[in-house]
Amino acid sequence: MPRYFFDIHDGQTLRDDEGMDLAGPEEAARQAKSVLPQIAAHEVPKDGEHQAFSVLVTDEDGHPIYSAAVTYTGTWLIR
């Protein structure tokens, strides 16, 4: 099975050195879809009103094959 790497960016970059063995690019995209919201759900409460999370999926040769982004925007309506 080919290996895919998932670098996460949210202000700082977290390089994925290990990667994951997955059936193919569709499976890698599916993984990105579950990972990114999972990270955002845990990280958003720790920080401010404007946050962005993105993931870049690369294959074994370092070629980007998929990217995704999730943003959080909070707005105070009482001040």
Binding site: F6, I8, L14, D16, E18, M20, Q31, S34, V35, Q38, I39, H42, P45, V55
Partner: protein, 244 residues
């Protein structure tokens, strides 16, 4: 070597000499099992119970997609399937993580042990109840703790459980798990676990070196994880027989 199971029970119970001897005799036959090997699989009807003497194993369910969900870690002194004879067949699988020394005790011998030694029977019940308590705590972890807290909590739990069987110092222990195991136990993706470990390292709560985990400030990581060891039921030391 002191049987780790006796060591574990000894933290909570006073076992008589004959009870200790009966347990030691029953666990004399040890099998060396390589790492990443299934001990029992879902659907099996085991005629033996397995006791881990050395190494790490886990209880897990295989998911329809081929993934694995770990529902318990088993360390030296832990019974794998104490009461499965009552249930009939296994509803989950058990496999080694590192290489393990595993004792197989025939079901009939187990029944005999608990029948003849009420103190031991009570201690075995305690062990089963603690397994359930750990599962409850994990349920809370998965539902209500953040990913960072959840993983930190697991490191705290390992520290206390391994200390009980003499396999941890006051703040460190050998740790054969890989990231994938942590992910399978917490429901977090490998990518997320990677991120969590980096964060815990950055905060100075966990240090990983040569397959060893060190918690430089135990009080700090306990506070961070909201860890309260009460669910491991190590205190107080109870008399071997129920009070009349």
């Amino acid at each position: 070597m002191l049987n780790p199971f006796i060591q574990k029970l000894g933290r909570r119970f006073v076992l008589s000499g004959s009870e200790e001897k009966a347990l030691t005799d029953a666990s004399a036959r040890v099998r060396d099992v390589p790492s990443r090997t299934a001990l029992i699989s879902e659907g099996d009807v085991p005629d033996h119970v397995h006791l881990i003497q050395k190494g790490f194993a886990c209880r897990y369910k295989v998911l329809p997609g081929g993934g694995r969900s770990i529902v318990a870690f088993l360390i030296p002194g832990d019974f794998c399937d104490l009461n499965v004879s009552i249930l009939g067949e296994m509803d989950h699988s058990i496999g080694t993580i590192s290489s393990c020394d595993v004792v197989r005790i025939p079901r009939s011998v187990m029944n005999d042990l608990s029948g003849k030694h009420p103190g031991l029977n009570r201690a075995l019940q305690w062990a089963g109840l603690v397994d359930e308590a750990i599962l409850r705590e994990w349920l809370v972890c998965m539902g209500r703790r953040s990913a960072d807290e959840q993983v930190a909590h697991l490191f705290c739990e390992f520290l206390i459980r391994l200390q009980v069987v003499g396999l941890a110092t006051e703040n460190s222990y050998q740790f054969p798990l890989i990231q994938l195991d942590l992910g399978d136990a917490t429901g977090l993706s490998n990518v997320h676990i990677n991120r969590v470990l980096q964060e815990l390292r950055r905060l100075g709560l966990v240090v990983f070196k040569e397959r060893r985990v060190t918690l430089p400030d135990v009080a700090a990581i306990k506070a961070y994880a909201g860890f309260n060891p009460n669910y491991l039921h190590l205190h107080p030391k109870a008399p071997p027989y129920p009070a009349m």
